[in-house]
Structures are given as C-alpha cells and as structure tokens.
C-alpha cells in the first residue's frame, strides 16, 4: 500500500466532510420531538380484527345471506366500523 497516497486520501476525505457541520437547531428539534414521543408500549391489539368465534346456525342453505349480515354487523359494531350493505 502506498502510505503517502493513503494519507493524502484520508486527509482529503476528512477535509471534504468537515466542510459541513450539523445543523444548529438540531438539538432543540430532537429534544422537542423526543418529548412528544411516547416510548411506552402501545397496546396495538385493539386495532387487530378479532371476530368472535361464535357459531351461526345455518338451518338451511337459504339462510347464508342473513348469517353473513349478522356476522358483519356484530363484528363491525364491535370495532366501531359502520357496515354498509347493498
């Protein structure tokens, strides 16, 4: 390895990056945002779709629209989502 050219390369690259400096307001911006960042574990499970697993009796094959309507309404109401059918 050419030690001299290696040293020149190191100096050149350092001079290049040292021409720029971190922003003056970086600290204040960071602390402001950190103060407004919650680090506590947020319970995201409330956002998960968890349909209840109760069974819907199907007395005949003609009952499936009513069964589907009931299922959608029950689960959408559970999560505050408005179901719009038809």
């Amino acid at each position: 390895m050419d030690k001299k050219s290696d040293a020149i390369l190191r100096k050149t690259l350092k001079n290049w990056v040292n021409r720029q400096h971190p922003p003056e307001n970086g600290r204040a911006r960071l602390l402001w945002e950190a103060a407004h960042t919650s680090r506590s574990k947020v319970d995201m499970s409330v956002l998960l779709f968890r349909p209840s697993h109760k069974t819907y009796p199907l007395s005949s094959t003609n009952d499936w629209p009513q069964t589907l309507f009931t299922w959608i309404n029950e689960n959408s109401l559970q999560f505050g989502i408005q179901a719009r059918l038809g």
Binding site: I8, L9, T12, N15, N18, P22, G26, L30, A34
Partner: protein, 194 residues
Amino acid sequence: MEAVSDSELVISLQAGSLEALGVLYDRHRRLVFRTALAITGDADAAADLLHDVFLRLFRFAAHIDSHRPLEPWLYRMTTNLSYTWVKRRQRWLRPLEDVADWLASTRKDTPSYQAEMDDSWRQVQQAISSLPLSHRGVVVLYYVDDLSLQEISEILDIPVGTVKSRLHYGRQALKQSLGLLAGEILPDLQYEFT
C-alpha cells in the same frame, strides 16, 4: 453532566431522561453527521439522519446494552439508515447536479477560487458516489471515522477479510478517480483541517 460516561447516560436514557439524550447528542453528533454526510453526499439528508439516529436511540434505549460502548451502535445505525437513504434515492435517479447545489451552498471567499474549489470538491463527491454502496461504507468508516478493520467488521457484521477486500477496491477506485495514482490531486484539498 459532561463527565458522565456514555454507559451512565444510556441508563438515564432508559429511564426517559431527555437531559441524557441532549448530552449524548452533543457528544456524538459530529460522528453521526460526518458518517451520514460521507455516505449520502447530501448535507440535508445527513441532518435528517442525525435526527433520526438519536430519536431511535431515545425510543429504543431499552434494547441497548449499557455495558457495551455506544459508538458502534451509533455507527451501525447511521450506516444502515444512510444505506437505506441512498438506495431510495437511487430509485429516483437524482441527478448529480444536486450535489453541485450542495457544494455551492458552502462558504465563499473569491468567486474564481471558489469555483475552482467547488469543482475539486465535486470531484471528491463524485469519486465517493461512484463507489458501490458496500465499498463506500467501508471506505468512510476507515478513512473518515478512523476505525480499525476489526471495528468495521463488527459494525457492518461482515468478516475482516471482506472489509479488507472492499477497502482495497474502494481505495484503488478512489485514488484513480482523484488522480492520486498519478499525483494529480489538487494540493488545496489536502490542507490540514483544524
């Protein structure tokens, strides 16, 4: 609080201390900024990455081992986020003219001198940007951050032999681009930074 060790500050950070975050920021911001700047070549991006790295440090403090040095974590996070930034940018094929804008926004002495200097710095920027991303990271950590081959190996999670190989090819490419092999580099670029 200035004399407090990084380890103690990380423990304070884990308890939610914003003061500890501020001290760590003051202590390590140059390290993060120069590394991000050298990899991305974009001062605005480096400023954003600096912010992002320390915000992540705050948010994920609980997962940091306070018994281990903090700097490798900072280097690793900075390098990874910088790589992501560069990859995203490459998708948009940002023209090199933007780099000229970045260089043109720096301090001016006389117009002719600065025009010449900007051309020279643009040459450095282009030489770095032309390196493959994996080589660029190794070159920056070695030449700009003065890290050893072993330290780079641990930070980038690659074998020392790979570090050596990437450094060799990165070095050769840079020297060729900058005219170092023929001794053509402008002496102005080599001044001693104080």
